[in-house]
Every structure is written in C-alpha cells, then in structure tokens.
Amino acid sequence: MSAADPLLRVEDLRVEFATEDGVVHAVDGITYQVQRGRTLGIVGESGSGKTVASMTTLGLTRGPRASISGRILFEGRDLVAMSDGELRAIRGNEIAMIFQDPLSALHPLYSVGFQLVEAVRAHRDVSKRAARERTVELLRLVGIPDPEGRVDDYPHEFSGGMRQRAMIAMALANEPKLLIADEPTTALDVTVQAQILDLMERLQRELGMAIVIITHDLGVVAEMADDIAVMYAGRIVETASAELLFAAPEHPYTWGLLKSIPTLTAPRDEQLVPIPGTPPSLIHRPSGCHFHPRCPYAQPDHSRIDPALEPVADEPTHHVACLLETPVRRRLWAELQAGRMPDEALAAAGRPGEAS
C-alpha cells in the first residue's frame, strides 16, 4: 500500500441495534477517511451516531443485538471482518480511545500506575519494572507534576484534569497511530479544557498520530480539526476542511448549529436562531431528507427524496447531502450572514424550486 492511502477508511458503515421498541438505526451508511497525522472532527448532537460510529471502529458495539455492515479499513485491514482476538491486538495498541468521563473510565480500586502498567503489558512483553518506568515516563509526558510520587495514587486522588491526562497517558502507552477522543473535554472546565487541547496538539506533533475528535462543541473542532464531518440522525450531512466548513457551510443543519450558539466575537445583542423541533428518533426516522421536518427551507418533495452525500459543484473536497440547489444555498447563507432570519432569507433568496 502506498503512503497516500488513508490510515483509516470507513466505507458505508451501518450499525443497527434490535431493541424492544424496534430497530435503532444508529449509524446509517457513513463514509469518511482519516489521513496519517491529521485530525478529523466529528460534530453532532446526542443521538447523531457519532459515538457509535467510533466505538464500532474498536469493535466495542459488537453484540448479539447489533448488526454491523460496511467496511472499516485500518491500514488496509478490515476491522469489521476481524475476529475479536485480532481486534484485541489492535485496540489500545495501534488504535486507542479516550472517553468523556475519566472518573468512570478509570477503575476506582486500582492505582493509576497499576492501570497504566496493565495497558503497557497488555501489548508488550516487558517486565513489570520496565513497564513501571514507562508509566512514569508517560505521566511525565502528559504533564502530571511529580510523576514518581503520583504514580501510586488512586483515581479519586487526581483532579478532573489530571484524570483526563492519565487517560491520555494510558491511550499513548503503546504509541498508537490513531487516537479516538470521544468528547475528551466536555466534563472539564474551560481552563482545564484549554490545557488538555494544548496537550493533545503537542502530543500529535511529537508522536505523529492521527486523531478523531468527537464533540458537540464547534469551538473545539474549530481549534483542533483539519477536516470536519457533521452528523445528523446517523448520517454525515456535510464534510469539508475546517476552513471551508466555517467559511462557507452548505448544509442548513450546519447553518443552524452555527447560528444557534452565542460566540465571543459576534455582536452581543445578536439574536440567536434556534433550530426548531428536536432531534428525531432513530427508530422512526423521518422520510426523505432526515432533516426536513426541522429545515426552514424544506420543499414538499424533500420528504420523499433522500439526498446523497455529494461533492459541491466547484469544491470537490466539500461534500454535502442537501436537496437544495447550490446557488440557492449560497444565497441563503449570504442572507443569514447578513443577519436575516431563516424565513426572511428564504423570501430574499427566491423560491428554491425556481432556481434551476
């Protein structure tokens, strides 16, 4: 395989869970890739499937009630087709994951050092003593002060920020090629969040690993990610480089997210434009475009036609799944940027059906 091949390539991944209430279509045919040393940000609300997609990469959603199809190619090897044993050799070794809540991800009855030694020795045939030295070195790498003194502390003796650092140390134990970070800073205060994001950026530079960062916070992906995928109801609805996505977003859901959060740079009295309604059930999904019940620009036929994720006319790297014509979308976004409300923007941009 050539160096230009992506480190991770997910092709038409579907994950469904059979429940008493019906089949939950958690991930519904998503395709994306992550290049070596780059950062992909996956943005979405709770229930958008972003966490399930990433946990499936590590085989963590396997079970009798789950049905998984599609391919997850990691350096050319298909993780979906692998046996549990083969996957175990990769998990925590070549691909590592950190979770939102470091307190529940660490075992409360074992010292932090013990758990790190375990992570090292799970994949390396080294003595306990060598593993302990490596553990101290890892704790130092992630910026725990006095690592020799703290290595035998228990998780409750660490602060929230230090626990997340310990989780990162554990993830780095075997120098993974890919780090999956699921809401790594959501449970943390902003100043600690800044420390952890700085740390992840520094470690990525030093170790050259690729990162998939999953979050609902557009600010975090704007700071961290090279490329961004926006998920809604189990699908990717828009994907582009970070610069392109924030400068010229194409999907009405992305516009909704951008316009509904207050920022430190917008005028203080700017009106927030909420997205109406609530995220849909993944059991009874809306027909056609899944976003149409909440989309202010939806046309009658959008409840019948299911849009595919396709390149935007003049930007081959920018993909969007939207039934509106590109010129209409561009006019709508320009109107929204000028401070108009969605219905005013729609009136000003003309009826979408008449554009072509």
């Binding site: 100043t191 600690v192 420390q195 557009l218 400068a247 997210l257 430190l264 740079t265 203080r268 909420p274």
Partner: protein
C-alpha cells in the same frame, strides 16, 4: 433607606467592600436594587470523629462576596467548578443559611427571617436548575408539577381555574397545553427545561435564578431555551441571576457579569467592558481558554493557566489566584487586593491588572 446604604458603604471594612458602594441616593424605593448581598460567607465545616465530632477545618465555599442586582437586569455569575457560584445562588434563595453576611431582597434582610415571612419572600424568587431530568418528579403529571406553586401558596384553589392557569403557562413557554396529563419522561430535555421555566414563572416572581439552565441540553436546543428565558424576562419584567460556566452564553444573556474564583468575586462589571478589556488575569485566562468558532481566527495564542484550582478548604493567602497567576509578584501573596474600578468601568481585585498590550497579546479574541 438611603442613609442606611450610605452607612453601610462607609462602615463595611471587608475585603470586598469596594463593590458595596452606595447607589445614588434616591427618594423612590423602586430604584433600589432588588438584591443586595453584603460580605456573604458560607463555610461548610469539615469534621472528624463519629460520636464526638470535632471541627477540623472548613470548606470556604463563599468567602466574603458582595454584589447587587438591579431591577430588571441580568447578572451573570461565572467561574469554574467549585468557585462558589451555585452556593452563592442557594444563599440568595435561602436554600442554605449563610455563615455570616446578609442578603437583602426588596429592601428586607432575609438571612435571618423564618416561617411565614420567609414563605412570602420565597414566592417572589424562583429557581431553574441544570438537570431537567432530576428536577422534575417522575411520578407527577406536568400539570401538577407546574400547578404545585399554586398549591403551596394556596392560590387558584378552584380546580378548573388552576388548570386554566397552568395551561396558559404551558402555552406561554411553548408547550402543547393538551399535554397537561403527561409525565416528565414523555418529554425531551429541552421540553423539560420549558416545564421547569413554566413552574418557576407561575407565581410571577420578581427574581429568577437560573443555575446552568442550558448546559445539559443539546446544542440546537440551547438557543430555544435561551430565547425563551429572554422573552419571559421581557414579558414579566423579571430580574435574572444567570449562572453558567460557558462564557459565550453569559455574554449573550447578561447585562453585568461577576467572575468568581475560590469563593470570591475577582472582577465585576458591565458585560461589554468586561469581555472587551478584562482587567483581572483570571478573567483574561477564562476568556482566552474559550475555543472560538472560526477556523481562521482560532489557533491564536492561548493564555493557558497551569495547574488546578486550589482546594477551597485551604485557599492560598492574600490574593487567592497568585499561585496560578502569570503576573503574580511578592505583594500578591502578602496583601489581598480589593475590588476597585481603575477607570475602565469594571471593578477588579488585582494589584497588577492586565494592560491593554497584554489584553491584545493573550489573544482575548473579542471584537468589541
């Protein structure tokens, strides 16, 4: 009242007294602030022993806080976990008893009243909580949840009238009045927060305290609830204390903002100057830490604080921020700085406040 306020300002010698400045004297009672907090302290004792409990220390959750909330305005309380912002709110509501200091609500000291007088005051102040799942009783219909304040205060005794009042409230907060007999689990997080708001405004209170009202909600839902709060405030003339850790949300919602660190207010002032030109290094660090939603503007220089917030059981001497402050000098560990306005419109408790050059340098990335 005017002379008393004047006395207080001159007599109060506490560390935070600079913020307890007397308002411009006014003959009318109604221009007096709705809430006046003076040198408020709450220490939670740390005890050892089971039978004979010895007090071995205290968590100084709130340690000398003074501020006031003017009628109709929104005051934001921001700070990190453990800075005392929620404790302050609970003290103002009398959900906790203060160790010392006083809270005046509508001119009346409510820190030591009880019984029917307290109940009467409580009618005037209501609270919205962070978690819309645990703050609604799962065994009650939302009709009875929203109607509960009427029951407690013996209002709208007639069943039909109470139902009508509740349904009006439901309509006002954007809920379908036909869902009167449904249970909380049948509603989404955003709708539950609307139920909480309907319950809070049922008695048309003067003061509403919102403690992290949107932090448990999905991004697309937050704006719905924030807009609703603003509409309610405008319609009912509410005074709002808005507590949040998200600085962008606070900036959007609040007229004035108080920044807390380890039980003290380190900076307080109108939102515009506070966000555009923070004086206290801690405010600067907080603002600098907020990720910016703009890929081109981001990746500027971030002012990252080292270490963690010290324990409130054993806070640093003098200026509590000196152990993490990039500008700290010897004086900071010896003499506690007072809140004062150095002509920028905000009051900061700092010996060496940020200079305009530093504000530009640390990349507090705000246009105004």
């Amino acid at each position: 009242m005017s002379s008393r306020a004047g006395d207080r300002a001159s007599v109060a010698g506490g560390p935070q007294s600079a913020s307890a400045v007397a308002l411009p004297d006014s003959p009318q009672g109604s221009t007096e602030p709705l809430v006046q907090v003076r040198d408020l302290v709450k220490h939670f004792p740390i005890t050892h022993g089971i039978v004979v409990q010895r007090k071995v220390g205290a968590v100084k959750a709130v340690d000398g806080v003074s501020f006031e909330v003017r009628r109709g305005e929104t005051l934001g309380l921001v700070g990190e976990t453990g800075c005392g912002k929620s404790t302050t709110a609970r003290l103002v509501m009398r959900l906790l008893d203060a160790t010392s200091g006083e809270v005046r609500f509508d001119g009346q000291d409510i820190t030591r009243i009880g019984g029917s007088r307290l109940k009467a005051v409580r009618r005037e102040m209501q609270m919205i909580f962070q978690d819309p799942y645990s703050s609604l009783n799962p065994r009650k219909t939302i009709g009875s949840i929203i109607g509960e304040p009427f029951a407690i205060h013996g209002l709208e005794r007639d069943r039909g009238a109470r139902k009508r009042a509740v349904q009006e409230l439901m309509e006002m907060v954007g809920l379908n009045p036909e869902h009167y007999n449904r249970y909380p689990h049948e509603f989404s997080g955003g709708q539950r927060q609307r139920i909480g708001i309907a319950r809070a405004v049922a008695l048309k209170p003067k003061l509403l305290i919102a403690d992290e009202p949107v932090s448990a909600l999905d991004v697309s839902i937050q704006a719905q609830v924030l807009n609703l709060l603003r509409d309610m405030q405008r319609e009912l003339g509410l005074t709002l204390i808005f507590i949040a850790h998200d600085l962008s949300v606070v900036r959007h919602m609040c007229d004035r903002v108080a920044v807390m660190y380890l039980g003290k207010i380190v900076e307080i002032g109108p939102a515009d100057p506070l966000y555009a030109a923070p004086r206290h290094p801690y405010t600067g660090a907080l603002l600098s830490a907020v990720p910016v939603v703009d890929a081109s503007a981001a990746r500027g220089q971030r002012m990252t604080l080292g270490g963690d917030v010290p324990s409130p059981a054993d806070p640093p001497t003098a200026c509590r921020f000196h152990t993490r402050c990039p500008k700290a000098q010897e004086l900071c560990s010896v003499e506690e700085p007072l809140l004062q306005d150095k002509g920028t419109g905000t009051e900061a408790a700092c010996h060496f406040p940020l200079t305009p050059e530093e504000i530009a340098e640390i990349g507090v990335r705000s246009r105004r």
